[in-house]
């Protein structure tokens, strides 16, 4: 998409897009991304015979593609929908019967798409600093060049990093988006009951804002139904995570970690399809544990190193790196930041208890928010717990160029690992762009580390 991207840059510089132009251009790009995932699904279908995990991949892509089709339908037929973030209590959107897409969808889910490099370069060309997180730069670029579907309502997030509030402000500033009513919940820096109650109020105000601008609302019974379904989903997820404690871990990076997060929070939160996906995942996992099968089901392969990958997966180059670690060193990502399960179940006693639980889940539990929003306790605390529970041999802090608060916490993480007697690897890379630190360099550093620590 480099050529188109450059055209978009030039046009953006020439004159601001009208709302109508932005709508058309956004739809075109959104369809390109849909087609990219359709190709992925068709490829996954061909692999189904290899194992039931591929069936799960297909189901995940089905759900994702359905969500994209719904958004396309909303844009084409002027139906209300939301552009949101990944922990804005999506159960509320679902209870209001409002489709939504995640503003950071492309870097999170389509980072391996062939057009990403060109778009990343183009984001710098429109004036973004190169040291700004790629995951923030890309959506800003899409908004500024009219390549993001214009929603009825935008829901922002003011945590976990400095980049996200700036992304919200670009939305408010952009000529095509400035009439889109936006609400961003304000996350306190503290984590006590006062903070949770305040955040529950923020969620209430968010729901009122959505209702005001879409005329969609929810009944308490409907919200309860969605939250109860969400609890079912989360219970299954937690049950599945217990399986990952097994030695060998039944799955590696490919299934059960980041996908579990995506499906439970980004597409169909509180939906029976989501629950069904986890039921299948659990069933497949239990079978592998019972048979003692590890991440790679091959007689000549053995799990040797259990890794806690303490960040988002390196989506921009995951296929070039993770299989290499598994094959070369028997190194398996047993747990990662987004696959971890620290969630609060929703107390469905009343509307207030549901808001309180949702506030707690979205303020204190959700990945990255949990670690990066407030003071650094959870960086150390999560390492301690996960190392123990999952029998971790190595903690990897990839050192993504955008995670600056984490970068300022490496000393604390290193000290924690030293206390636990677990090696700590800090790399320094861009999870979305392999040109920042090449995959070869990351591999070299990782291999040196494994060897230096006597793990390989």
């Amino acid at each position: 998409m480099t050529t188109e991207a450059n055209t978009a840059v030039e046009e953006q510089e020439a004159k601001p897009l009208t709302t109508e132009e932005a709508k058309e251009r956004a739809l075109a790009r959104y369809k390109v991304e849909r087609d990219y995932f359709t190709e992925n699904r068709e490829a996954a279908k061909l692999m189904v015979e290899i194992g039931p995990e591929w069936q799960l991949q297909v189901q995940l892509l089905d759900i994702m593609l359905d969500a994209k089709e719904v958004i396309i339908d909303c844009v084409e037929n002027d139906k209300p929908f939301i552009a949101g973030y990944f922990c804005n209590a999506p159960e509320l959107f679902h209870a209001m019967d409002l489709p939504w897409y995640m503003i950071m969808e492309t870097p999170f889910l389509a980072a391996s798409a062939p057009y990403l490099e060109g778009d990343t370069d183009a984001s710098v060309e429109i004036g973004m600093s190169q040291d700004l997180c790629t995951a923030i730069r890309l959506p800003i670029y899409y908004i500024e060049t009219g390549q993001m579907p214009l929603p009825t309502v935008a829901i922002g997030l003011l945590t976990p990093c400095d980049g996200t509030p700036m992304l919200e402000q670009v939305i408010q500033h952009n000529s095509a988006w400035k009439d889109v009513p936006i609400y961003s919940c304000d996350p306190p820096y503290t984590s006590d009951e006062r903070a949770v109650n305040y955040y529950a109020e923020e969620l209430h105000r968010m729901a009122d804002h959505i209702t005001e601008h879409t005329k969609h609302t929810y009944s308490v019974d409907r919200l309860r139904e969605v939250c109860e379904e969400s609890n079912k989903t989360y219970s299954l997820w937690q049950e599945y995570n217990e399986l990952r404690r097994n030695v060998p871990c039944p799955h590696g990076w490919e299934i059960g970690g980041a996908q579990a997060f995506a499906i439970s929070q980004c597409f169909v939160a509180g939906d029976p399809r989501c629950t069904a996906w986890f039921e299948k995942l659990l069933e497949v996992g239990e079978e592998r544990v019972a048979k003692g099968i590890g991440a790679i089901d091959r007689p000549d392969w053995e799990e040797k190193i259990r890794i806690f990958w303490f960040d988002i997966m390196p989506y921009g180059w995951v296929f070039e790196f993770m299989p290499w670690m598994e094959e070369e060193f028997g190194a398996v990502v047993v747990m990662d930041m987004f696959g971890n399960f620290p969630y609060t179940m929703i107390d469905t006693t009343s509307e207030e208890t549901m808001y309180h639980s949702l506030a707690k889940r979205n303020l204190l539990d959700a990945p990255m928010i949990r670690q990066a929003r407030g003071t650094a306790e959870n960086f150390a605390g999560d390492i301690r717990r996960i190392v123990e529970d999952y029998k971790i041999d190595v903690v990897v802090w990839p050192g993504h160029m955008g995670h600056k608060d984490g970068a300022a916490t490496v000393g604390i993480m290193r000290d924690t690992c030293r206390d636990l007697g677990v090696p700590f690897l800090h790399v320094g890379l861009d999870l979305y762009d392999k040109r920042y630190t090449s995959v070869e360099e990351v591999k070299e550093q990782t291999a040196d580390f494994f060897r230096g620590m006597g793990l390989a």
């Binding site: 049950e239 217990e242 239990e286 544990v289 179940m345 123990e388 690992c417 007697g421 230096g452 620590m453």
Partner: protein
């Protein structure tokens, strides 16, 4: 260090208020070896092999929806702890097959040499990991949530067994802990919540202690490898200390110089 003493007293008051038919107490002042010998299950690192899956669960304890709370209270005043006492309020494991019981657990430990710096590691005591056969703590960040396997339940695994196992593990893993008392509550969500309320502020107190404790840890120089396995650890420590000394010396010399200048200007 009297930070948690009030909470230990509150826990004893709670036990007192719950005395009745569903409260059982046993006291075990045996040595660690004697305790180990009296338990019908294996304990120690690796005693728990694999994981306990749904189908193999005899009873689940502390599902957050059923009610769950867990605290560790420590003191250097061992007289506050009724060493070896295990109190259970509510039904025992053997009567609860297939159930999901609410679960409250208060561990009270005493040791004359315990201090703030130990607080963070003491909190780890709660995380039993793979050390008790047939007993698996689920990976739950805030609450205690556990499973007991069908296999050990058939071998008379009760809360008394669990308590004895924990006392033995704590005392053998941490010789500086000389007294251990444990309270288990399974009688109902309300009781567990009441127990949680009585010690709720102990958690934030713990954060403050943690803050204090970290202050004394010092800092280290940057490297990508783990110091504990690094041959240069001592050299790094020396460099770090030297840098600080040089800077401090420079500072005091500068201050002395400033004083001289200030005096000569007068």
């Amino acid at each position: 260090m009297a930070a948690f003493d009030g909470y230990i007293k509150a826990t004893h008051d709670f036990i007192q208020s719950m005395q009745g038919d569903n409260c059982t107490q046993t006291v075990h002042r045996d040595t660690v070896d004697e305790l180990r010998a009296s338990i019908p299950i294996k304990i120690g690192k690796g005693a728990m092999q694999g994981i306990i899956m749904r189908g193999n669960t005899f009873v689940e304890l502390g599902n957050p929806l059923a009610g769950s709370t867990s605290h560790l209270l420590w003191t250097e005043n061992c007289s506050l702890i009724q060493d070896g006492r295990i109190t259970l309020i509510g039904p025992d494991i053997d009567t609860a097959e297939g159930q999901s019981l609410p679960f409250g657990q208060i561990l009270m430990v005493g040791g004359e040499a315990l201090k703030n710096q130990d607080h963070e590691q003491l909190q780890q005591i709660n995380i039993i990991g793979d050390q008790i056969e047939g007993y698996m703590l689920r990976s739950s960040a805030e609450n205690i949530w556990a499973r007991v396997s069908r296999d050990v339940a058939s071998r008379e695994f009760t809360f008394e067994t669990l308590g004895k196992a924990m006392i033995a593990l704590i005392k053998s893993n941490r010789p500086d802990i000389t007294s251990v008392e444990i309270l288990f509550v399974t009688s109902g969500k309300k009781d567990v919540e009441e127990l949680a309320d009585s010690v709720s502020s102990a958690k934030s107190l713990g954060s403050d202690i943690l803050k204090e404790a970290w202050k004394e840890r010092g800092y280290d120089v940057d490297c990508d490898f783990d110091c504990s396995t690094c041959h240069d650890e001592e050299v790094c420590d020396d460099i770090r200390d030297t840098i600080v000394q040089i800077k401090q010396k420079e500072r005091s010399e500068n201050a002395a110089e400033e004083d001289i200048i200030a005096t000569s200007n007068k």
